[in-house]
């Protein structure tokens, strides 16, 4: 009996990722017909590099979603983390990338811990808690910073942005490379995968997302698991904010807030269930790629910017509808009653 359920579960995972790959292949085919440049390694490296921020925070959001929660405050967390880092390295002129990299992470963890404590203690839906903390974090940052931009960072910070894992030459002789930050993303995706799949805490996260009451009665410490989940999201937001600052070589307090929904859409598209208990790192990676391709495609097709929101909204509703439908089928199989 138990084995049968595990089999069904795996099949659903495989389906989500399989379909995502299929959609990506079909879209790529048509986009290549429209613009042959689309299917070059150069364009793909570029696409991946410009979505590293989205990709990293989507991994954090995935973990929160699996635990049955949701976090929309990470953009403010990331902005605060990178702003403090920018202030420190430009004021004291710290010419060391490693230190710059290490500053935003504890800040992210601390702000994540605030979310974790509030979510666990108040037992109010996490979306309400994190909308409030988003406003608190961002409001204070804008008030205290006055919205001032930061630039002029030490040379090591500037040079690190140009580091390539390897570089290639295109037919016209121009050089392009595989940015080091894509490796950050892939590394964190593997880390997330290992945590979720092989570490006890990962299995506990699936457990509280699947059935909180059962997990509590099995003796899991819900508080510790939730704290871990929101701190993990905070840590990833910190790392992502470092990458974002590197790629832009400028820190604007208002450049990240407002992109929460893109990340949520990527995670849901990648098969993370908003009911908790389901989702995988590979799925979310593909979900981010799919959103990146759709946006790239809209630009290649010269669709006006107003249409982007309409299409993003439709994608979220569509993905959630498929997700809900799958859940319904599963519930029907297991004879569960859905009252609402």
């Amino acid at each position: 009996m138990k084995e049968r359920f595990i089999l069904i579960d795996k099949r659903i995972f495989r389906q989500t990722e399989f379909y995502l790959l299929g959609i990506i292949a079909v879209l790529s085919f048509f986009l290549t017909l429209i613009n042959p440049k689309f299917l070059t390694l150069e364009n793909w490296f570029d696409l991946l590099r410009s979505n590293v921020f989205l990709g990293i925070v989507a991994l954090g959001e995935l973990v929160v979603l699996i635990s049955g929660g949701i976090d929309v405050s990470f953009t403010a967390t990331a902005t605060i983390a990178q702003y403090i880092m920018g202030l420190i390295i430009s004021t004291y002129y710290i010419d060391n990338v490693l230190i710059a990299f290490l500053i935003p992470i504890p800040i992210g963890i601390a702000l994540g811990a605030i979310n974790g404590v509030l979510v666990h203690y108040t037992r109010v839906h996490p979306v309400i808690i994190t909308i409030s903390t988003l406003n608190v974090f961002f409001g204070f940052l804008m008030f205290l910073s006055g919205g001032k931009w930061l630039y002029n960072f030490p040379p090591s910070f500037r040079n690190f942005a140009r580091v390539q894992a390897f570089s290639l030459t295109n037919p016209k002789g121009g050089e392009y490379g595989f940015s080091i930050f894509i490796l950050f993303w892939i590394g964190l995706a593997i880390l997330t995968w290992v945590i979720l799949k092989y570490l006890p805490i990962g299995r506990k996260i699936y457990a509280i997302g699947g059935n909180r009451e059962a997990a509590r009665r099995a003796g899991f410490n819900l508080f510790r698991i939730q704290l871990f989940v929101y701190c993990f999201m905070g840590a990833l937001a910190g790392i992502a904010s470092f990458v974002h600052a590197e790629l832009n070589q400028m820190i604007q307090p208002n450049s990240l807030v407002g992109r929460e929904l893109d990340v949520l859409a990527a995670a849901i598209l990648g098969g993370a269930s908003v009911f908790g208990g389901a989702g995988s790192a590979l799925g979310v990676f593909l979900g981010v790629c799919l959103i990146a391709i759709i946006k790239n495609g809209l630009i290649l097709m010269r669709a006006p910017a107003y249409w982007h929101e309409v299409i993003m909204g439709a994608i979220i509703v569509g993905a959630a509808a498929i997700n809900a439908y799958q859940r319904k089928l599963k519930a029907k199989r297991e004879g569960e009653i859905i009252a609402q």
Partner: protein
Amino acid sequence: MPNNPLSKARDPQILILIFILIFISIFFGVLTGGRILTVQSLQAIAFQLPLLGLLTLAQMTPMLTGGIDLSVVSTANLAGIIIAISMTQLGLSPLLAIILGLALSLGLGALKGFLVAFISIPAIIATLGMMIFIRGVALVITKGYVIAGFPSGFLFLGDGTILGVPLPFIIFLISAIVLYILLNRTRFGIELYLLGSNPTATLFSGVNNRWVTFRVYLLSSFLAGIASIVMTARFNAAQADYGESYLLLTVLACVLGGVNPSGGFGRVSGLVLSTVILQVVATGFNLLRLSSHLASALWGIILILAIVTNRLILARES
């Protein structure tokens, strides 16, 4: 304990709210040197309150069933744009324009209700997607521009007074009273509260949960449509992203007014009081010339405090 939604068990909350209102009025009265208690300020409050109040009423009905509607503000904006376009570009009479706007809100409500009730998408995700979608449609229609310049008959809805009472305030009061009757004196209202407190038990008592949920979103969007009339008339303009900061405030007002975010509890009277409190605070911030960013941080803190207090009260009751 208070399983019967019609019981008076939560009345202490109303008393607490009245106490908070008195405290806040004195607090800002002292801070602003009495400026907040002048007739002028009070009338300003009565002009500004209805928009937040109507949007909060729209937010309340889904929250009573344990849902939420993140798209109330975007729904109001799109309805406002339709009203504006009907009057300025199609040359329709204000009455016809308003009917069109309300019809559009009902249509959007039906779509939301369909997604939540019949497809079973969690309300948060469905309305999040709808919020982005609706705002996108509004942007496509307006291309980001403001639509302005309405007939004076329409503007009267925003700035007119009857016996010194601002017309928007009267619209708000009528809507609140009608909603009160709907929630407390009709079968639909009782089913709605029941659904919020225990969906499974409600299903087994022979209530059609899906149909109740569907109508909840219909009602919510209709109230957002009424808010759009007041908003468009007051601003004398319509735009795709007006009043987005109101979204957090509507949730805040509901929680402060005693609506339990997991559903089942909450009264219209508590909501009216909490919107008055929030409006007094907002006017106070304005009079003190507080930075809008600091104000939004303070809103967030007030919301968290309200939630924690609610939690403490609930913990003591059980």
